[in-house]
């Protein structure tokens, strides 16, 4: 197989694995955070505003790791440096 085909194959497989594995952890974490927040709101409905806002900020933090994986995937597929090096 040519270098170009090998790089393309490896990039696509790794990109899929990156986003697949990389989204498992944040998904579990966000689910836990959401469950805890719902429980907290059920126990203290008066604090719902504060809890919701903190939840959003926390979810955004947790989500960052998934977004890093997403960016790596995009780089692998659309801006692969090795691909460009072989083509030139």
């Amino acid at each position: 197989m040519s270098d170009l085909g090998l790089i393309g194959m490896a990039s696509i497989i790794v990109a899929g694995l990156t986003i697949a594995i990389g989204s498992v952890g944040p998904a579990l974490g966000q689910g836990r955070a959401l469950a805890q927040a719902l429980q907290a709101i059920a126990q203290q409905p008066d604090e719902a505003n504060t809890i919701t806002r903190t939840l959003f900020v926390g979810l955004a933090m947790v989500e960052s790791t998934a977004i890093y994986c997403f960016v790596v995937t995009l780089i692998l597929i659309f801006a692969n440096p090795f691909w460009a090096a072989v083509q030139s």
Binding site: N49, T50, R53, F56, V57, L59, A60, E63, S64, I67, Y68, F70, V71, L74, F78
Partner: protein, 234 residues
């Protein structure tokens, strides 16, 4: 399929190419400025508010309340910056359902520019609050050995801020395009509605994170000043 509105060149202005990002940013800015100007021209203090004034007052009151809750400070100095960020992002995200409109926030350049504004605003507000010495001294607490990590933290949160907005908005439009080729009848509409929700939430998160970072910059200094007076007192 275009990944970013940066790649769409609308027309060229002399030596410069006006991309879709640039043109639609201008469109959003014009909408916001002209809309606000039209509404604020006929302000009344009476009981009979116009529709536009009602919307803007509710919006400003909402933002002021959110900022006050997070910072525990007078929200007025932070309102112009954070409010502008929120309004710009929410307008461009919501306009994404207009056919032909490419949300400028779906390009990494716009998102990075907005995140850089936050990156600059954090020390700017911090220095305005307690001066240069106290703010920079803040970096050396609790220990000077942590200075590299503080700096890395500042940089990586700026990166995360930019990529979070870009990733969410861009993936929304990409998913719509992919679904159009897979199941063109109803699913794209559902995903567009979902994207609308995501757009508003992302604008909220961006503004909230900006104010959390700004607040952390100013609050830590207050603590510094307080502990210093306590040390002087003992």
């Amino acid at each position: 399929m275009t990944l970013s509105p940066d790649d769409v060149a609308l027309f060229s202005l002399g030596p410069w190419t006006v991309t879709a990002t640039l043109a639609y940013s201008w469109l959003v800015m014009t909408l916001l400025v002209v809309g606000s100007a039209l509404v604020t021209r006929g302000l009344t203090a009476g009981g009979d508010l116009g529709r536009g004034q009602n919307v803007l007052e509710a919006l400003v009151a909402f933002l002021l309340e959110q900022i006050r809750d997070i910072t525990n400070q007078d929200p007025e100095p932070y309102l112009p910056f954070v409010g502008t960020l929120f309004l710009f992002i929410v307008t461009s995200n919501v306009l994404a359902i207009v056919p032909g409109f490419e949300p400028p926030t779906g390009s990494l350049t716009t998102a990075a520019a907005l995140a850089l504004c936050v990156f600059v605003a954090v020390p700017a507000f911090g220095i305005r609050k307690l001066g240069v010495r106290a703010y920079l001294g803040n970096y050396l607490r609790p220990s000077p050995f942590l200075l590299p990590f503080t700096i890395i933290g500042e940089l990586s949160r700026t990166l995360a801020l930019a990529v979070r907005l870009f990733g969410n908005i861009m993936s929304g439009s990409v998913i719509a395009v992919i679904l159009l080729s897979v199941a063109p009848l109803l699913f794209p509409v559902v995903m567009q509605a979902f994207g609308l929700l995501i757009g508003v939430i992302q604008a909220y998160i961006f503004a909230i994170l900006a104010i959390v970072y700004i607040a952390s910059g100013t609050e830590a200094q207050e603590r510094t000043a307080r502990t210093r007076t306590e040390e002087a007192g003992t």
